[in-house]
């Protein structure tokens, strides 16, 4: 089973309440203003909302000391974007799993039927329409209407399949990104196919909310479909999709006959190979926002099973050795290299970057059901971008873009939000 709280009892027990989960490592801090890493603890300022606090709650649940049906428990558990910043920070100091117990706590609540009512329609929409957005699945392929691209739902195979993802498929403002992606790939000579109306959600939303069963169905059917369509490469713009396909899909034990590539990696490769040439100057001061799912959360997760021995009264030795996920292996450089390849661009980094990046606030279902929290979190990121003088935030995730744009609009902040594909398209 994928997510069993009991598998993390030892990690949860060992949390020493050092609170490192609430901050980036000291050596990474550049200012007091942007020194926090966890949206939930920053916003709600009570230990239970932090990674460590969530471990304590998870442990209490696993030990039967807490009732799953507790309303306040659910409030805390879901006021979290599951961004994984706590996990990366904790790993700087110790080797505890923090993010996966957070997932497992949610799966535990869900299994007991104690999910939040407002998540009901999302899951139902997934079950009926293959997307979490309550949109009709028959309209899924619409974004590609009029494009010269092979629609595999009408038969045929393709070695490279582009997976647009739910938000890029349905969001009227963002579906332009999906169209531009296909156009760019075609102009670089890539024979790309799409699944049209038969493309379905990657299952990430279900997974993040704790609906592991629903997730498994999406993951398995996607893997089956891509295998059957002869895919060698699945390219996605959706960072959430990329993260889950890289980190979690392999745990299902199904053979994946394709590699999963994020569009930023692919663009980087095509630019380096000279297949895409960027010639137009864009004299813009931009910064880059690391989507959690493209960065630290895209590292393949290897659950550890084995025996633990205590030596010298306090050191824990694990047999076999544990693969520790520190968030270092995420996709950080390709999008930055793509930005730097744009002529005339002025690229500047924010303070919290790479595995210690501040979340945009949309993750873990927060955008759909607690928009005020999502917008506040995005506002923090926009302020950070402004503090380094950026005129635009470039990012590579539909949810980040949607949320940052909404926050900029709602808070009246002047900040352009660009998808990396849009930037490349403009520079062609």
């Amino acid at each position: 089973m994928l997510l069993d709280l009991n598998d993390y009892r030892n990690d949860m027990k060992r949390c020493a309440r050092c609170s490192i989960c609430k901050w980036p490592p000291l050596a990474q801090m550049k200012s007091w203003r942007f020194s926090q890493n966890c949206p939930a603890i920053s916003r709600f300022n009570f230990h239970a909302y932090s990674g460590g606090g969530r471990m304590a709650l998870g442990l209490a649940l696993a030990e039967g000391k807490l009732d799953e049906a507790d309303e306040e428990l659910s409030n805390i558990v879901y006021r979290c974007t599951a961004c994984g910043a706590c996990d990366s920070s904790c790993k700087y100091n110790s080797e505890l799993e923090v993010l996966w117990p957070i997932y497992a706590t949610r799966a535990r609540l869900v299994g007991a039927g104690c999910f939040r009512e407002e998540h009901g329609p999302i899951i139902e929409s997934l079950r009926r329409e293959d997307n979490p957005l309550m949109k009709s699945k028959s309209e899924r392929g619409r974004w590609a209407e009029g494009l010269d691209v092979k629609d595999l739902s009408k038969g045929g195979q393709a070695e490279v399949i582009y997976h647009a993802g739910c938000l890029y498929s349905f969001d009227p403002e963002l579906s332009k990104v999906a169209r531009e992606t296909v156009t760019l790939l075609r102009s670089a000579g890539v024979e790309v196919g799409i699944r049209g109306a038969q493309e379905s959600c990657c299952g990430s939303m279900a997974f993040q909310l704790g609906f592991q069963g629903e997730f498994i169905k999406f993951a398995e059917s996607n893997i089956d479909d891509w295998n059957a369509l002869g895919a060698r490469k699945v390219v996605t713009s959706c960072a959430c999709g990329f993260g889950i396909m890289k980190a979690v899909y392999p745990l299902l034990g199904k053979k994946m006959k394709f590699e999963v590539v994020h569009i930023s990696q692919y663009l980087d490769e095509l630019i380096r190979e000279g297949k895409l040439q960027l010639s137009k100057k864009i004299p813009l001061r931009v910064t880059y926002h690391d989507p959690c799912n493209l960065g630290r959360k895209s590292e393949e997760y290897v659950p550890w099973k084995g025996t633990e021995k205590k030596v010298l009264g306090q050191l824990i030795v694990r047999e076999p050795e544990k693969t520790v996920h520190r968030g270092w292996e995420g996709v950080y450089d390709p999008p930055r290299d793509v930005i730097r390849a744009v002529p005339g661009i002025n690229f500047v980094e924010m303070e919290r970057i790479r595995e210690y990046a501040w979340c945009c606030g949309a993750g873990g279902g927060v955008k759909t059901t607690m928009d005020d929290f999502a917008l506040w979190t995005a506002g923090e990121r926009i302020a950070e971008a402004q503090s380094v003088g950026a005129e635009a935030i470039v990012t590579a995730c539909s949810w980040c873009e949607r949320n940052l744009r909404d926050a900029a609009a709602a808070q009246g902040k002047k900040m352009q939000v660009l998808d990396i594909v849009e930037l490349v398209k403009q520079a062609r």
Binding site: R128, K137, S138, S153, K154, G155, Q198, K217, S221, D224, D225, N227, A228, L229, K254, K255
Partner: protein
Amino acid sequence: MAKKIKVLAIGELAGNQLSPGTRELLGGGRDLADSLGARVGIVLLSESAGKTGAEAIAYGADEVYQAEAAFLKNYQPEVYLQVLEKIVKKVGPEILLLAQTATGRDLAPRLACRLKTALAPDCVALAIDPDSGLLRMTRPVYGGRALAVLVCKTRPQMATVRFRALKSREPDPSRPGEIKPVTPELDQSKIKSKFIEKVVEEVKGVPLENARVVACGGRGMGGAEAYALLEELAQFWGGAVGATRPACDSGWVSSARQIGLTGKIVSPNLYLAVALSGSSQHMAGCGNSKMIVAINKDPEANIFSFANYGVVGDYRRILPPLIERLKQVRKGPKD
């Protein structure tokens, strides 16, 4: 001295014959009665029994309780219940069997209530426990993911049986048996519902539940047009066409043709599963088929773990030559 009726079946007629499910009840009931050293009875309610009493004996009944009346023409629960309750109480069988049909599943629970006994619906296997002599009733539960074996503590031990779960015997017109006419009585004041009319809907081929061969298409069919191929394929055997839920949800096929947990349950001799993955939701509706043949692009598809024969490939390239070949065979003599 004549042995006691221990196994009683409630039969259904199809036109002027026994329904196929009824013949199976007699075959299976015969086996149970033989292992109990007892006799088999059957109740037949109709407007006019014709030769069905003799037919029932040929198929294995020892006694036929035959009630004929104009008011028994169409199945109406409160009418049938009144008549049956009296007959069953009088016969006092150990085992009472019905077919899991639209009628059987409507009638059996209410009859069980009136007889103050339990009911194991939709059984796929029945056997007498050699130690206790009790009826072990096996039925799929959790959408066919598990099998439950039930033993009833009250009498009669009552079950409805899924089509094709029991085997009917070859009819033997020389079998001895007795037809006992019953005069049905009716208390009109207890009738709370009334049959108005039967509407037969235009379906190509035979109804799904009765079809010997079912061709079913899934999400991989890609559109409504593709089902014409399945129609052609099924036609070869006079079979029926079904669809999976995703295909029905996409509006390609009417939901009346959905096979699966929330649709129809079929158990044909041959199930042709085309471009469908074999989800547990779907397999709940067809897992009991005698033979499953899968055509799927994905060699890892779940359906291959259920199938007896499989072809890996795109149905668009496999079905046309397959149908062509079948048609040739039908037309000309075999080469």
